[in-house]
Assembly symmetry: D2
Homo-oligomer: 431 residues x 4
């Protein structure tokens, strides 16, 4: 039976990811501690995925100051060139058990479990000439020496058009399904595009991964990184993936946040069940703990609200990047506003109404005929931002602001908004 | 009262345009002869616009062999630098009446009337230093010397941010509204994009034209040419225009037609009432009469059907480029298939289901829950192309092919299609 | 008899140019006042050309604050579309005498006379449809509407391959030869190159100008501007011009001066009699008088010496851009060091010996077997820069520094040089 | 004592190279058989280098049909990651003797011996973590994972700025000097340039190789491949290398030969003793023996003469790519015309006099004051090509054509030349 990819991510996935906090160094204890906190405080609001990000197979990750990735590091690998958790970092994986024990614990908390992988096959497997499971081929025969990642030296891409290439990806997802993985974030794969702008062509690997998931018997959500994905590939991405990143890595910087409005404008017509253009993780609370980048998010409260509002109205996946145990109340409140989360999960047909250098307005629709209107001040001074209901053919509406509960009625909503700030209104048509 | 642009092109505009046949040389007699034929034979099927294309203001157009445009030709112009029909070619325009008499005749036939303009202000006006109507400014003050069209020397673009620039465009549309124009095709304006690929930035002129229409008191449909429009500008285009060209000029060549499938893939999520990504005119029947390019379309019957089917399912505007009086019965049948035209006018949510070098499949939806399925053979050999209703969650369907009337029922439609050919099926779900 | 272009600029031309001081506003009084000062104080050292730069045909130049060039300004033009000096600015040109009276005065001072022109034909001539002298053609027939200058709206380039285009350029140089012009700086012509980097193809205009000079009966030195000229066009430039600019406009900024070392590295093998890659004018003393940019050069004394040393050893043309009457003694000394000027005029085979971000060394050769060695400190701290005579196969040399007269002997010259400073040594081999 | 690179290639190197004939499969028997023939028939005319080209360290080269390079092949390598001849192909290298025995034999024939290497360090050494000789570093520490060759998977480039990187190159040239190597052709290194056109930055590796040669105690000629080298790097190349390729691989195709005239125009000012822009090998006689590409050169006799004439007048290195044992008399005559070879070895100041799509003229100078004039017909029809001695300031000359011996005197040489053909004249000034 064919797995229908759009069926198992009908709403934007919500969860936590280890990257923003632990980067390439996360270990079993950290993962599980966060998972327990997540299950207790965030899961009730829908934050269900717990995702272990990059380099879990690298025993020495984090041992060299300033080096997120150690070139040509020795990786933990099975006889088929498939990477396994580094046992010194993930002790429960010992004895070839992989991530199964951790997945089991996380599932026991009511969460879903995700992992990160790099596209391709380890260079180490190529030079060890490991077998491709279920074939007579060896790793060197399916690796493409020219398909490399510019920021991590672990892998070669696999060749196009070879049955053994597909067999290799099938063997990966067979393994992950066996572990109980629910979500895979594949990296170095979404920035397809012209070589002159640093892009590469990994379209065939995206397709192979799609087919491997369809065969693996488990509904594994497929997330592609990093961006910028190319808008010209939108149809291909929507056929094969559940999430794809619109930008390169997003961090806690206002210029990056402001630029995200442009990406949301660009991709807005591609948002639909099973297909979620991705604004990337939410760098909130305490982040960057690894490699001495530790800090509380640089985003001001206004900017945090703007980020949550944009991610909500656009229907971006919501993946939190924070050290959960130290989350303060204000941040927690931001993440657990049920009305705002409902906009993200249920608001249909999100679309930009206006945007210039100083402001933006977005609208989405609810099933009951009401609409959500988000107002953004993108400038450095407080200013009025408004929306006329005539734009959607209404005379007047009754409105509630979802962050503050403030109410308002009339032919227009309008607010004086703080610099870099936002409001989001739930509006019902008045007869 | 604001004119709501999306309201007055709720369905893809259908009509006839003088370019493919008469190019830059069309005259009043030709225009009216075609209009009368259109009113009699095509209007009953929805073909309502009659559009006079480029260079109607150029008295000597067509007098130099092989030159569609004569560099620095003297243009017929009023005291405000506004171009007027060349009286030798459009006699009814004499005495400053412009296109009003022709518009009146065309309206009298039950048709709507459209004209073509180039963006910008005539260079001739700049060197004559004509007044900008309603201002103290002169043409040289609003012209941008660096904003030129690479294939026609008539105009300079107008400067950004000047009130007099807006006033100039306002004066144009005031004139056109006074004539009774219903549709304006603005040229040299849609291929915004990076200069290195021949693009230019005319976004401010698009906005000025939008505002000028909104003020002019007449619901003038706005069509932008030529393409390729940039997908990154999709939101801007959809805010300001009713139609915009996805490609450079489309002619009767199979490689161009095959490439159109790629453009339709790219723009499919932007098709909606009032916003019509444009596949360009249909070069059918007798075309290229001017400049000795006269011929019957190079498209084979199979290719003609493919073109009509793609334009229909994608919901492209349908603008016919043919000498109407000599249309043969087969072509007329192609243009007057009411079921196919209904797909174009009413089929919602058109989307590509599959495409590779050899075939393509598209689907759109009807209000009654039935769907339209178009199957295309893009290869040079006959081949099977099919569609499984499981793709849309149906078990079985009862189907009729709209060109042939053939019927079929089951879990899949499948057909052996001739090279470059197409079929389009109307499908009802079976319980 | 063919004029041999390489014969009449056997050494790098030296002179004065009005641009750096008066920009587009220079007038007859200013030109002649500077010429008189030049004849008295600089001519004895070889500074012989006096060049009137851009816009001398524009009566209103300088009348709008901040606008060096007024778009679509009305130009003073003869019946053949040839520009004439604006009589309000150059009174002696009245009565159709053009620059002849001024040339005569300048020649009387012992100087040579140069003018600036833009390539192409005035747009104003095109719309006035002036005759091309000696032909039946009119300006609109030879103008290329797509060949425009991006920073000045006066001209269209002329079309390739037309006899009337050549006739137009012939008519220009016939006029200039008649006035007694010795040097023409043609602008908007040397930055041939790919359109995506702002270049254009004016190669045919360069060739037409070459032919026009060869026919005009007067040895007019041809200087092409602005750069950057493309190194891939070096052979074409050397066949047609005497000087061509390696860079865009050079002003009194250290980063620009430092970058010039890269251009000199690039072009060093193309320096030879009649062919002078051009570092551009020397912005010394009082400059920028027009448009309120008036200042004394921003170059420090060290930087001034570095500039003169580089221009000298590389054999750049030396065109002074200063208000001569207010030159101070230090600047005058810099410009009249006969030994340094001799390196410029006579040093053969200039070549870069070493260069990195912090220093550079150049060598050239004298007829008597001695060499010139220039040492440059390109860094922001004082540092040692040296040269081993073993590099040129010598054991030891006896040396004199040309700016200070300091002496030194040995296997190496080495000096502690001030930041941004330079030394230049004359070195004789020791037996 | 510093080795002066320009001193040991004072004239364009001449020799034979195994590539054009044997490609990646050459073996000891083939190499020596050709060397013996070369010594007997070609060495007397100056053809002194015998060069073993790529993949001599690859035991399985040539065993897979159509694959010049087998991805991730196992290479023969010493404990320091230095590649050694494959013993199955070069039996005399057994026992760690490397190329020393072959070099000894070739030297015994009176020839000089050259080898080919790829820049960088074997990937195989990286994953085996071999020591870098004379250091504590291992291969993985000096390899740059992003510096790869796009057409051969053997190597990673080495990192910039590390002492161990230099030590690695030093260890290579210590080995080669010990073997008796006289000439090294380094590949994947000369096409420095922008990434978007397939270039890469290997400037630091060129510098490291220069230093390694300077230290190795042997005058090893350094040849860099493949092109196109970037003209903007001319100074850097001339400081570090003796030869560098102006183009990508040159084969026996007229369009490639015609394009070479453009490259020669571009690089002509950089030809001087020790610095030889390289037109690449001469694909003459029987070539392409490996991989089933075997053929007699596709060049017609006229084209062969054109090639030899251009290589001669331009002073390109002359490296023959042919199966020597089967050379026919006509080809041998082409290669042993002493007068033509003398132009290559001694003609000073080669320069292009004229070139357009149909013809080219070049001149160079002899020590006795005579000149060489090459006339080329680049078109597809016979045509006259000529040269006026007035171009070089002579009245008349007495001339001999070097291929035919034909004589001629006058103010001009002029000849009707066959399509794609050439003549080369030795000309003495007449009083």
């Amino acid at each position: 039976m064919k797995i229908r990819k759009d069926a198992f991510a009908p709403k934007p996935p919500m969860g936590w990811n280890s990257w923003d906090c632990y980067m390439s160094t996360v270990n079993e204890a950290q993962l599980l501690e966060n998972a327990r906190w997540q299950a207790e405080h965030l899961l009730p609001f829908g934050w269900e995925y717990c995702v272990c990000d990059i380099q879990w197979y690298e025993p020495t990750a984090g041992t060299k100051p300033g080096m997120e990735y150690i070139p040509f590091a020795r990786l933990n690998m099975d006889e088929y060139g498939r990477l396994l958790p580094a046992e010194n970092r993930f002790p429960s994986s010992a004895g070839g058990r992989g991530f199964a024990p951790i997945a089991e614990q996380i599932h026991g908390l009511g969460l879903k479990f995700g992992i990160h992988i790099m596209r391709g096959i380890p260079k180490q497997a190529v030079f060890a000439r490991t077998k491709v499971k279920g074939t007579d081929a060896t790793a060197d025969q399916i690796a493409d020496p020219n398909s490399i990642c510019l920021w991590n030296s672990d892998m070669f891409g696999v060749r196009k058009g070879l049955a053994a290439s597909q067999a290799y990806y099938d063997s990966l997802f067979e393994l992950y399904a066996g572990w109980g993985v629910d979500y895979v974030k594949v990296d170095d794969i979404a920035h397809t595009g012209p070589a002159e702008s640093g892009g590469y062509d990994a379209a065939h690997e995206i397709e192979m991964i799609r087919r491997a998931i369809d065969k693996c018997g488990r509904a594994i959500v497929l997330s592609l990184s990093p961006g910028p994905a190319q808008i010209g590939k939108a149809w291909h991405l929507s056929q094969n993936a559940n999430l794809w990143r619109m930008t390169n890595d997003f961090w806690d910087s206002w210029p990056q946040l402001k630029k995200m409005f442009g990406y949301c404008e660009l991709w807005q017509t591609h948002v639909r069940p099973g297909c979620w253009p991705d604004c990337d993780m939410l760098p909130l609370g305490r982040i960057g703990v690894a490699f001495g980048h530790g800090r509380t998010t640089n985003f001001t409260p206004a900017e945090q609200k703007t980020m949550m509002t944009l991610w909500a109205i656009f229907r971006s996946p919501l993946m939190l990047g924070a050290e959960l145990m130290s989350l303060d109340d204000a941040t927690l409140a931001l993440l657990t506003n049920e009305k705002v989360l409902a906009v993200n999960q249920n608001g249909a047909n999100p679309r930009q109404i206006a945007r210039d250098d100083g402001h933006a307005v977005w609208v989405s629709e609810n099933e009951d005929g009401s609409v959500n209107v988000a107002l953004f001040n993108l400038g450095d001074e407080a200013r009025e931002v408004g929306f006329d209901f005539a734009e959607i053919g209404w005379d007047e509406a009754a409105c509630d602001e979802l962050w503050t509960g403030e109410g308002l009625a009339g032919a227009r909503i309008s607010a004086k908004i703080e610099p870099h700030g936002a409001e989001i209104w739930h509006c019902e048509r008045m007869a």
